[in-house]
């Protein structure tokens, strides 16, 4: 199917900021403010620079791919190696509204890659059934904002299946994928980050990658994992994130946080798109304030790697700063904060820094200056 047209969302119009050398200039830029908006309607879109990972050498030959292409590659590998694997969701047949499943139906047939009608609860319920019967089910929810009709199925059915049947049955073969997070013009229903809603649910795994290399590895791990997984894909990175991704299948272990940068003064913990903001903040903090930051990517939100974070925080580090895109109250960061404080024997100070969720006027602001401010305050 040709399907050249992008059906639903325009490509992420993220304004990638200029090269790192002009960070000084960026710092001077004032934090975007609604009341100072000029007549020309300057668009303070999601402002961050994608920081690609170094090319991995241990997985074989690599190819330049963006996030949606790396997802397609992972799904392609799965359909090739696992004859029971099926992919379904709204509009996946022609390639999906974000092009994540382009070419798969032509390659593997319409009984393996097929559309469902508009019914999220039905999609997940159906997926649970497929998984319980032994096939590998990869369900797509078109936007994470629409996952709520399926919330009951995920939390009450999928997560508890193994436990309530005494390990007789399970739906570990189920993986749910959904585009996630702020995109700049998404407003109420195309920008949500609902990982915290599921965070209290034992039996479920939640994974959020920061770029194409992680995405492919983590998605393949989720599919292989014997527990139902929800894989959230940062939609703003679909086109913006380009890395050299291995062509062969490979897995990245779940529930293992990755320390991206070592530091001695402050720990910055996050996941998804925010990692790139934090990396910039870390270099800005080093340059401007002489503060050495440790950057940790949780990758798996549930169950999260509390050991790595605690070990890191337990060391001479005095402070932990977390940045999450679920800005307001009771986000995932609050949950982590409470766990950290409960776990640590000595009193450590943790601070939550949120980012503004999209408003209708498309002002998602991961302002680097704001994040930098928060680091300064801690000292």
């Amino acid at each position: 199917m040709a399907a050249a047209a992008r059906l639903f969302i325009r490509g992420a119009n993220s304004k990638l900021s200029i090269a790192p050398s002009s960070l000084g200039v960026t710092l001077l830029k004032l934090s975007p403010n609604c009341s100072s908006r000029t007549k020309t309607q300057r668009r303070h879109a999601t402002h961050f620079t994608f920081q690609p990972d170094p090319v991995p050498s241990q997985y074989g030959p690599t190819q330049k791919m963006n996030l949606f292409q790396s997802i397609t590659s992972a799904l392609d590998n799965t359909l090739a190696s696992d004859p029971t694997a099926v992919i379904f969701g709204e509009d996946v047949a022609f390639g999906g509204v974000f092009r994540c499943t382009v070419g798969l139906r032509d390659k593997y047939g319409k009984d393996r890659v097929f559309n469902t009608p508009l019914c999220e609860q039905g999609i997940v319920g159906f997926g649970i059934g497929v998984a319980v019967a032994g096939a590998t089910a990869i369900a797509e929810i078109q936007f994470a904002d629409y996952i709520f009709p399926a919330f009951d199925q995920i939390v009450n059915e999928a997560a508890k299946y193994r436990y309530r049947s005494g390990n007789l049955f399970d739906c570990g073969n189920l993986t749910i994928r959904a585009p996630w997070g702020c995109v700049g013009h998404g407003a109420l229903y195309h920008s949500q980050s609902p990982e915290a809603f599921f965070a209290h649910c034992p039996g479920l795994k939640i994974v959020i990658p920061r770029g194409p290399i992680q995405a492919k590895g983590l998605l393949l791990s989720c599919i292989a994992d014997k527990n139902p997984c929800i894989f959230f894909e940062p939609k703003i990175l679909y086109r913006a994130a380009v890395e050299q991704v291995p062509e062969e299948p490979y897995t990245i272990p779940l529930s293992q946080a990755e320390i991206l940068q070592e530091g001695s003064d402050v720990t910055l913990v996050s996941w998804g798109t925010q990692i790139h903001v934090l990396k910039e903040v870390a270099s800005m903090a080093q340059e401007k304030l002489g503060v050495s930051c440790e950057v940790i990517d949780l990758q798996t939100i549930l169950p999260w790697d509390i050991e790595t974070v605690c070990k890191v925080v337990g060391f001479p580090l005095e402070r932990t700063v977390q940045l999450s895109s679920f800005g307001l109250r009771c986000g995932q960061t609050e949950i982590i904060e409470v766990s950290l404080q409960a776990d640590n024997k000595t009193e450590r100070k943790t601070q939550n820094v949120g980012s503004h969720k999209d408003r209708k006027t498309s002002k998602s602001r991961w302002s680097k200056q704001d994040a930098c401010l928060s680091v300064t305050r801690h000292r």
Partner: protein
């Protein structure tokens, strides 16, 4: 034209010295009403359907024409503004489906209630919103109908409950509104609209059950424009007879491109509800010219020929215009005059929408709660506090 002729005749008659009957004023030369034959509706679980012979008066015709033309121009203007990036975010346009909104409104009162999904600009207008307010809401300004905080998908006005983003979520809400009407005994009803894509959502069927069980005065209307975003109805639904999906709820299938058909069917449905017989389901077969939203070109899942065919054969505005002209109910000039007025109204509204200031930052967090002392909402960092006033 007729005025000129009559003036000439009068002048020539005077010259001839003959007694002259002052020529009648122009509009009395038009037929004040005409009877039309409309398409018969398919019925389900009903003994009889709506009438097939309907009367349209000149005034009604002109009013429908003006409303539909306003809606059409408004949507096209929104298209233009979107392409100029003055409107951002999501924008789902209603052009092609005008007959539905106008026909429905013609048979209900402003005191009745209506709720629909996100393709709501037309309904906002027929329910009482002004073009200015609608366009200002699209551009997110303080003059907007939702104070600039709602946008394209969230427009509201009196007895119009939006404007809803989540597909199918508005249907149980509509049934609730109908329950309130029944409970309060005010003889009002609720018109609850959804699309062919939403017809496959579970909550619709839950709502059918509740509405039928409690005999709620709700008219369920499925606006079937043949495509749920990019999926055609044949590929999404096991049964494309959406008017029969209510199973235990009587149904009607109506030609949604003909404003008279829609009006008559809605009248029939409203009578059904108001007589206490419970809910009724209507499927309006209609078509949208634009894609699903402004991000969708609309031609990757249907051919341009198909769109052209519908435009030439079944366009609601053209159909009404032809009817009126061929029955001498209006003149070409008169309709052109209406077009000019409508165009001006839209231009003014667009001007307003582009120049009105945006809502101030102080209002960003208002209306989160109600009746609470003003609370502080965290902004982008813990030290940026915004105030939320209830």
């Amino acid at each position: 034209m007729l005025a000129i002729i009559s003036n000439v005749l009068r002048a020539s008659a005077q010259r001839n010295g003959a007694a002259v009957i002052t020529s009648a004023r122009t509009y009395a030369d038009f037929t004040t009403q005409a009877t039309f034959e409309i398409k018969k509706c398919d019925v389900f679980k009903l003994d009889e359907g709506p009438a097939t012979q309907v009367v349209l008066t000149r005034d009604e015709g002109l009013q429908y024409y003006r409303t539909m033309q306003t809606m059409r121009r408004m949507e096209l203007k929104a298209d233009q503004l979107y392409k100029q990036k003055i409107i951002r975010g999501f924008c789902h346009l209603y052009d092609g489906q005008e007959a539905c909104a106008v026909g429905i409104e013609a048979s209900i009162n402003l005191s009745d209630h209506l709720i629909t999904a996100y393709r709501a600009h037309g309904y906002t207008y027929t329910r009482g919103g002004t073009v200015k307010e609608i366009m200002a809401e699209l551009t997110g300004r303080r003059g907007g109908i939702a104070k600039g905080k709602g946008g394209s998908m969230h427009m509201y006005c009196k007895h119009f409950y939006g404007g809803n983003g989540i597909v199918g979520a508005q249907v149980p809400l509509g049934a609730g509104v109908a329950l309130a009407c029944k409970y309060q005994g005010n003889n009002e009803l609720c018109v609850c609209l959804y699309g062919d894509g939403a017809a496959n959502q579970g909550q619709i069927f839950e709502t059918y059950n509740m509405a039928a069980l409690w005999k709620l005065p709700v008219i369920f209307i499925c606006e079937n424009n043949r495509y749920g975003m990019g999926t055609s109805v044949e590929r999404a639904a096991a049964s494309t007879d959406y008017f029969k999906r209510g199973e235990f709820i009587p149904g009607l299938r109506v030609d949604g491109m003909d404003v008279l058909c829609v009006r008559e069917a809605t009248r029939f449905a409203a009578d059904h509800c108001r007589s206490g017989k419970g809910p009724i389901l209507m499927e309006l077969q209609t078509y949208r010219y634009h894609g699903h939203s402004m991000s969708d070109p609309g031609v990757s899942y249907r051919t341009r020929e198909e769109i052209q065919e519908v435009r030439s054969k079944s366009d609601p505005i053209s159909m009404l215009k032809d009817r009126m002209l061929s029955n001498n109910m209006a003149s070409v000039e008169e309709l052109k005059e209406i077009d000019v007025e409508v165009r001006k109204e839209i231009e003014d509204a667009a001007q307003f929408a582009t120049t009105d200031p945006e809502p101030p930052l102080e209002e960003l967090c208002n209306h989160i709660f109600c009746d609470m002392p003003s609370l502080e909402v965290r902004g982008t960092n813990p030290w940026a506090k915004l105030k939320s006033v209830s």
